[in-house]
């Protein structure tokens, strides 16, 4: 038996407490919990330790090795993938390895998005988030090979969704992906997502308004549009140089940073050809973290930064002088953000991450303003939100299996499939 673990700040379970030399599906332990999962070929089980969840997946050595290597690489590149924590190998009795990952907190499996009420507005964002995820992976030279809704987890991101990759069994790393590789990836993703949605449809879990075929056609359109925006060479007249700035601004708004812009004159100098070199998503995330230390998802960060800038402008109007950004950020953090979060009772805080809570408080404030036709300050909105809205929201830190009827059939089929 060989247990290889990454040292982490949070203590991992003592895996030796578990019967590592027996098949994972036969384990019986009070710390094992059921959570909704998609269709998987391999047996996947979850261990709860304190407020953390750990996912254990049993799979052949070669695949476990590949997944371990790829997840570590992608994680180091700051790409949205689950944290891989360890591998249990050489278990004897011809047993496969076990790959250990940290369950992504506050994540929503796609079935949850379609089977719970109150989430329809997020469903429309699902395909956008998958398109962004694919583009980010492709920019990094990663060919996934099995993009599906079951292999993706979603986190709320300020009214949108952020997609996270959870399965790299078929992945490949390349210095650069060819157009053919990207096209094939999209073909596979379209078929897999179509299958996932049609499966929900046939299980009576998909709204009649959603046409699975339209959804996957949109995926390709969104992907192509984003890819073109990020990578296409553009020609502009020398008199329209501001178009270069406009494009860079659009890239920032989409959440991508550029390190350089390749510019070359053309057509006897009357045209400029330029192509941005996009390096990384997370433009607003990095800005927010630098200024406040808050770690948020991209749309959350954009929302928080907007609020920070509004607060900075208000402060400047009070003093008659513009404030340095760092000062405005410190005052916003201590006078707006932290008090708002503090207004939420601690027993409700595992329903949303702090940045998402803040976003929802701002949304709540907007609805109060609309209803009362009067300005509402954030502390008041936070108190109202904590009393009137949050108690009715589901705990999303770790979604445990509650809807037995919905998931029993899925689990049965998943387990059956895992035997293949």
């Amino acid at each position: 038996m060989r247990i290889q673990l990454i040292t982490t700040t949070d203590p991992q379970p003592d895996y030796l407490e578990f019967p590592l030399d027996t098949p994972l599906k036969e384990w019986d332990h009070p710390d094992l919990v059921e959570i909704p999962v998609g269709v998987h070929r391999h047996v996947v089980r979850f261990i709860r330790r304190g407020d953390r969840l750990y996912a254990l997946k049993e799979l052949p050595n070669e695949l476990a090795d590949r997944e371990w290597r790829l997840l570590r690489h992608l994680g180091a590149e700051n790409l949205p993938v689950v944290d891989v924590l360890g591998v249990v190998a050489e278990r004897g009795n011809d047993l496969d390895d076990i790959l250990i990952t940290r369950h992504l907190e506050f994540s929503l499996p796609f079935r949850f998005l379609f089977t719970r009420s109150g989430l329809p507005q997020l469903r429309t964002k699902l395909i956008d988030s998958v398109a962004v995820l694919l583009v980010r992976m492709h920019l990094a030279g990663f060919w996934w090979g099995d993009c599906s809704l079951s292999n993706t987890l979603f986190r709320r991101d300020a009214g949108s969704l952020s997609a996270w990759l959870v399965d790299t069994e078929t992945g490949e790393l390349h210095p650069k992906l060819s157009d053919g590789q990207r096209a094939l990836e999209l073909d596979i993703a379209q078929v897999n997502i179509l299958g996932g949605l049609m499966d929900l449809e046939q299980g009576g879990q998909l709204s009649e308004e959603i046409d699975p075929t339209d959804v996957v056609v949109q995926l390709r359109e969104r992907y192509d549009a984003l890819w073109d925006e990020l990578t296409n060479e553009q020609a502009v007249d020398v008199s329209e140089r501001q178009l270069i700035d406009d494009r860079l601004k659009r890239l920032n708004d989409l959440g991508f940073d550029t390190t350089e812009v390749m510019i070359k004159p053309d057509n006897d100098g009357s045209l400029i050809r330029f192509k941005p070199v996009v390096v990384e998503a997370g433009h607003h995330q990095r800005q927010l973290e630098r200024l406040t230390g808050i770690h948020a998802l991209e749309n959350q960060a954009r929302r928080l930064m907007n609020d920070l800038h509004s607060y900075g402008a208000w402060l400047a109007s009070q003093t008659g002088q513009p404030l340095p950004e760092a000062v405005a950020a410190y005052r916003w953090l201590t006078e707006v953000f932290e008090p708002a979060i503090a207004a939420v009772p601690s027993e409700l805080r595992d329903r949303r991450e702090a940045p998402e809570l803040f976003h929802e408080i701002l949304e709540h404030r907007d609805s109060l303003v609309e209803a009362r036709h009067a300005p509402i300050r954030v502390p008041e909105a936070a108190t109202s939100y904590a009393l009137r809205a949050l108690p009715f929201a589901e705990t999303e830190r770790a979604l445990l299996e509650t809807d037995e009827e919905t998931n029993a059939e899925t689990d049965k089929a998943s387990n059956d499939l895992s035997a293949t």
Partner: protein
């Protein structure tokens, strides 16, 4: 259906690494060709070039009568068959096979015909209304295959499609895919690192190493007449035993010095391969497959053999025969297989497949008879086989 032709195909990456060098293959219309080789040999790169996923650096690729070097993957009329088909639990077998045709905008009536035809070929006709959870493991894999079949491509490309399955199902699916391919008659290019898979499935097998084609032939010919040391060692399980020694002609034929022993090579062998004569006094690699060795006491009369003496180290009883492992005090020959587990600093461990009536025990000394007609010889420098 279509013939697929690779004509001196090169793949050179921007960093200068040449993954494939002048690869020429003709996959006949309806043929099942398996490309096999160790990890990093360029086999998946070759498949990806056929699929259009990798640009071709040099040479010409044809599918049917079209040159497809610059044709988009979707326009090549080929189907990549993956290892990771998911089956959807709420959908019937019928829908699991056919749902993707919706995306391809295949008319409903035509889709129905294709799905039912695929189900007939896959022997799933009676299960079309069932859900995946009601099927056996093998049936579920067939449903997954059905999804590729209904696309009716000119050619199938398969990249290690069985690597995700457990050993039992892998063996079952090998036979299933080979049967399906014969029935469908679709040109199939199959990539694997597993030589057993290659030998049991392909009409022909192409062996590749370091991006260079080593040999392409029927499985039996590859096994019986390998072109070089690499193919000889790579094809077959357990591998061919290889030894290197000085070859000397003598009045009874020739001999090869193998450590402290001398292996006599009968005159008929030299007469059948006169090319061996030019190695007189030179180093030469000698190869013999495990099944061409036996306990000398049990050799059939009339078989021309030559003997060596062995001290048995390990016995593996397989029922129909036994594998006898014994060391020979001659250095291990490097076959060039990067995946092979061999310590080149140690002496050679030989494996013989003996008649089960043989009763050697570890520590026993036995006379091992080698079938002279089945001996293999290779030039130590070029590593090429000497057959003539």
């Amino acid at each position: 259906m279509a013939q697929v032709v690779l004509d001196k195909i090169d793949k050179i990456y921007p960093n200068g690494f040449q993954a494939v060098t002048e690869l020429s293959l003709e996959i006949e219309d309806g043929e099942f060709l398996v490309l096999v080789g160790p990890s990093g040999c360029g086999k998946s790169t070759a498949l990806r070039m056929i699929a259009g996923l990798e640009e071709i650096s040099g040479g010409e690729m044809r599918i049917g009568d079209r040159i497809v070097n610059d044709v988009e993957p979707k326009d090549r009329d080929i189907a990549m068959v993956f290892q990771n088909y998911a089956l959807y639990p709420h959908m019937s077998v019928y829908d699991n096979i056919g749902f993707a045709l919706k995306l391809a905008k295949v008319p409903k009536e035509e889709a129905d015909v294709r799905i039912r035809e695929a189900a007939r070929i896959l022997e799933l006709e009676d299960n079309l209304d069932r859900k995946p959870g009601q099927l056996s493991g093998g049936q579920r894999q067939r449903v997954a295959m059905g999804r590729a079949i209904v696309r009716k491509p000119s050619a199938f490309l398969m990249d290690e499609p069985l690597s995700n399955l457990d050993a039992k199902l892998r063996v079952q699916m090998r036979a299933e895919i080979a049967r399906l391919q014969r029935e469908l008659g679709v040109t199939t290019f199959y990539v694997t690192h597993d030589q057993v898979e290659a030998m049991t499935m392909g009409d022909r097998v192409a062996v590749i190493k370091d991006g260079v084609l080593q040999q392409v032939d029927t499985p039996q010919k590859l096994y019986d007449r390998p072109n070089n040391v690499f193919v000889a060692a790579f094809i077959g399980s357990p591998s061919m035993n290889l030894f290197e020694g000085i070859f000397s002609l003598n009045s009874e034929g020739a001999s090869v010095a193998l450590g402290s022993q001398t292996l006599q090579i009968p005159a008929p062998v030299i007469e059948a391969r006169p090319g061996l004569r030019r190695f007189d006094g030179k180093s030469l690699i000698f190869g013999v497959r495990p099944e061409d060795m036996n306990d000398a006491a049990l050799v059939e009369s009339g078989l021309v053999t030559t003997n060596i003496t062995a001290e048995v180290a390990l016995i593996e009883a397989l029922g129909a025969d036994i594998l006898v492992h014994f060391p020979l005090d001659t250095p291990v020959v490097d076959s060039g297989d990067p995946d092979a587990v061999q310590d080149l600093s140690e002496n050679t461990m030989v494996v013989g497949r003996f008649d089960p009536r043989s009763r050697p025990r570890p520590g026993d000394t036995v006379d091992v008879a080698i079938n002279a007609a089945r001996m293999n010889f290779f030039d130590s420098e070029s590593r090429l086989a000497i057959w003539e």
